[in-house]
């Protein structure tokens, strides 16, 4: 928690998640269904899972 982080480090995860979202949105639209749909669900599911982990895994609701 101490020291200030470089921008690259701050944005590493957000940019990776943004890239996954863009891939997921386009995979279902441009891919021919089938496997591409599964890849799309997987790619878009990861941000949702990240949030779920952030909410429950780290115990935000603790006082």
């Amino acid at each position: 928690m101490s020291g200030s982080r470089p921008m690259v480090q701050i944005w590493r995860w957000p940019l990776l998640l943004a890239a996954l979202i863009c891939f997921g949105l386009l995979a279902a639209l441009l891919g021919g269904g089938g496997l591409w749909w599964w890849l799309s669900w997987l790619a878009l599911g990861i941000p949702v899972a990240t949030i779920a982990a952030g909410l429950w895994g780290r115990g935000t609701t603790k006082a």
Partner: protein
């Protein structure tokens, strides 16, 4: 980033969000059931079921459905006929006249036929006399707050503010996180600090999705002016040579089924889905306009019109659609999330719920900052040297 630069971005984030948040909350809440409108529409539908027919039963002629509709409502104009490509139905939409429809779109009503038997499955009443359905109610709130074009433009402007709020939020995210690891939620700190961390976490994780759905929502709200632009430029130029020619009367109209077949023959790689009768404000007074679409996930959202002479039934033109209507068409699936099966819709709904939390927590952060004069004095600690610390409590 300099401290004053940071303060400017904070200011932009605060005001762009504050102005649009209430409307965005309405949009997110009403958008939730709309994600599942196909599923819910089937559930609420009280029409007669399709007749069970042997496989390969041919569809009845569009002419049969149009003639039956005219017999049921003599003197009314047929506006357009929709032929579904995945359900055996033909839907004929009518109004007292094209002029009456242009003056008030609610004057139209439709009759749904079973495409195999020609039997009427359901007929709607004009002017919402059946009562407005749940999904229609949600759609109107979502799209225009029951205020038609002014409402569409207003909500489009709110969507633009939402996009500005996302971008400015991303700019201030960096300085906020200088001393924190990604996804840190300081659960041991005061409630406001926890919500600030949560707001940052949720907002940044779904940043790209909110941007895409926000921007495509803005483009969708421009659909009326974009079609109007096309009508006033390309369509007008195309029809200019015919200007002043007498408009065909209903008795003079050639067979709509034949026009449909002509269009299909002219565009064999496409699926014809609807036929707009002559006189439409978004069509031609002299032609049937047949909308055709492609077969793939994306191309099935890209529509191209074919014009067929409404008097003699001959092919007039395959029309090229301008780039701005293509952009509108591509932005539809990316806004609706209806192009990757039910799992994609469920993901869309979850991301919509997360957006609601981002909006709500942003509002809470502003309200709780204003709540106490003490905390207002604490505000300058935010952004000192570009490094942000939440007010101590």
């Amino acid at each position: 980033m300099t401290r004053s630069g940071f303060q400017k971005w904070i200011w932009l984030h605060k005001w762009s969000s504050l102005i649009c948040t209430a409307f965005l909350l309405v949009i997110c809440l009403t958008g939730l059931p709309l994600i599942f409108q196909d599923e819910l529409g089937d559930f609420f539908d009280d029409a007669l079921p399709y007749a069970a027919v042997p496989a390969g039963t041919p569809a009845v002629s569009i002419d049969t459905a149009v003639d039956a509709s005219r017999a049921r409502f003599p003197g009314e104009a047929v506006l357009f006929v929709f032929v579904d490509d995945d359900e055996p139905k033909i839907v004929v939409t009518m109004a007292p006249s094209w002029q009456a429809w242009a003056a008030n779109k609610k004057s139209s009503h439709w009759i749904r036929f079973d495409a195999h038997t020609g039997q009427v499955l359901k007929a709607s009443k004009p002017f919402n006399r059946d009562g407005i359905g749940f999904l229609e109610f949600m759609l109107r709130l979502h799209r225009d707050l029951f205020a038609d074009l002014p409402g569409e433009l207003f909500l489009g402007a709110m969507g633009l503010l939402f996009v500005i709020a996302i971008v400015s939020g991303a700019v201030v995210y960096g300085p906020f996180m200088r001393r924190l690891d990604f996804a840190t939620v300081r659960s041991d700190r005061a409630r406001r600090t926890r919500w600030l961390d949560l707001h940052n976490l949720l907002g940044v994780v779904i940043l790209a999705w909110m941007l895409v759905v926000g921007l495509t929502g803005v483009i969708n709200e421009l659909s009326t002016p974009l079609f109007g632009l096309w009508q006033r430029t390309d369509v007008k130029a195309m029809l200019a040579p015919l200007q002043g020619a007498p408009v065909p009367s209903i008795a003079e109209l050639s067979s709509p089924q034949a026009a449909f077949d002509t269009a299909k023959a002219a565009a064999p790689e496409m699926v014809a889905t609807s036929i707009i009768f002559p006189g439409s404000p978004f069509g031609s007074p002299y032609h049937y306009l047949i909308w055709t679409k492609g077969h793939d996930t994306l191309t099935s959202r890209l529509f191209s019109p074919v014009l067929v002479n409404a008097r003699d039934g001959t092919l007039s033109a395959r029309v090229t659609v301008p780039w701005y209507l293509r952009a509108l068409e591509v932005s539809r699936p990316l806004h609706f999330g209806d192009y990757g099966g039910l799992p994609l819709k469920i993901i869309w709904a979850l991301l919509d719920l997360v957006t609601i939390v981002v909006l709500g927590s942003g509002l809470y952060l502003w309200l709780s900052r204003r709540a106490s004069p003490f905390r207002r004095r604490q505000e300058p600690t935010v952004g000192r040297g570009g490094i942000v610390t939440a007010p101590a409590e």
